[in-house]
Subunit: 224 residues, 2 copies
């Protein structure tokens, strides 16, 4: 068992091919893949995506270069599995915090707060993810995880906002712009934190929540 991408089929632009279930992997396979992914995260976070070569990652993992090719179809698959792994952890954490929350204000607070809380304990992963999102391209030359791939998040956040508007909890505004701006605020909160390690991420998240609470809530006053 080597990779989970069919080398013959044209994977094209859509989702990746079906993953090989972990149960079909040997122990060594699982250990090596985890080890290599961890090394990739470290190297990408430390030296940037462009300088994170197979050789660098292999050296960091303490194996020879060929091992990566043996366990992954190529650099592309390695990166995609890396993103998946980080996202799974984050997604599960946020979803569990978000479950059972009602009201847009509470949703906003828990959403921003839980993302920040999780990431504060996974700083290296966060830095690597940022590098991958802005640098990793498909063979066509398009960003693999560009703004277009945020569409799912935007759509979901928009739904939350629209519900709030219908209940009269929120003022009238363009939900798409608000969703894009919220995501931008979160992304740059992390980017700022990565380059300013002493920055108080929790406080920033609280301020950001306040910011969007004031920006979205219904208000009797008119505008200037």
């Amino acid at each position: 068992m080597r990779s989970e991408i069919d080398p013959s089929g044209q994977s094209g632009k859509g989702e990746s091919a079906k993953a090989t279930p972990d149960s079909e992997r040997s122990l060594i396979e699982k250990v090596r893949r985890a080890q290599i992914i961890e090394a990739a995260i470290d190297v990408i976070a430390a030296r940037g995506f462009a300088k994170a070569s197979m050789a660098q990652i292999a050296e960091r993992a303490g194996v020879s270069k060929g091992v990566i090719s043996y366990h992954f179809a190529g650099k592309g698959e390695l990166i995609e599995r890396t993103v998946e792994q980080v996202y799974e952890g984050l997604g599960a954490f946020v979803a569990s915090r978000l479950a059972g929350q009602t009201g847009t204000a509470a949703w906003l607070r828990v959403y921003v707060g839980s993302v920040a809380e999780y990431m504060s304990g996974h700083r290296t992963q966060l830095a690597a993810l940022g590098e991958i999102f802005t640098h990793f391209r498909t063979d066509d030359g398009d960003l693999r995880y560009g703004i277009a791939s945020s569409e799912r998040i935007y759509t979901h956040v928009e739904e939350v906002f629209r519900e709030g508007q219908q209940r009269g909890e929120l003022r009238a505004f363009d939900t798409r712009v608000m969703a894009v701006s919220l995501q931008a605020g979160i992304d740059d909160m992390f980017a700022y934190w990565v380059t300013h390690p002493d920055h108080d991420l929790t406080a920033h998240a609280r301020e950001l929540t306040d910011l969007f609470w004031h920006a979205t809530r219904a208000d009797s006053r008119g505008k200037s």
Copy 2:
């Protein structure tokens, strides 16, 4: 006359060396430099920073590769001059619109609006700038135009916010977080527009202004 970076001196991390004044350049020199910078913008915007090689840029400009080396000290200088040129145009435009404005609300509206207005007519430049900011690194491996280089903008925006707070026009909030978030909203507005050409940039800018007006203005109501 070749480049404006002293090949012997260690340029280090600071600002680039003094520029050679245009008056000391021959006509051919000026024309070629402009032509090459334009080609660089086109190629970077179209194919991404990583694939914008000297060969690609030279081909686009219709000259041989050596010409770039002849007129610029290296790829680094070419990129820095490109950024300078785009920024000069934007800076001059925004500054002229901002001159004489009083009050934070007006400042916010004019700031966001004028940046968007200028960029709407310089789409390719905008795309190239985005690529450069996220990819171009110094020899040390740091991003040449990373978040750290936004410090000047943050500081200035913070000042505007603090004035508004002192006049009682704005509520109490962390000015640093607000400045970072505003810049994030503007940056992602452009990023969204670059990938969604039909998106209404002017309307987005208006909504973004509203967003931050609601987020910052003083308010008698308490919070939830």
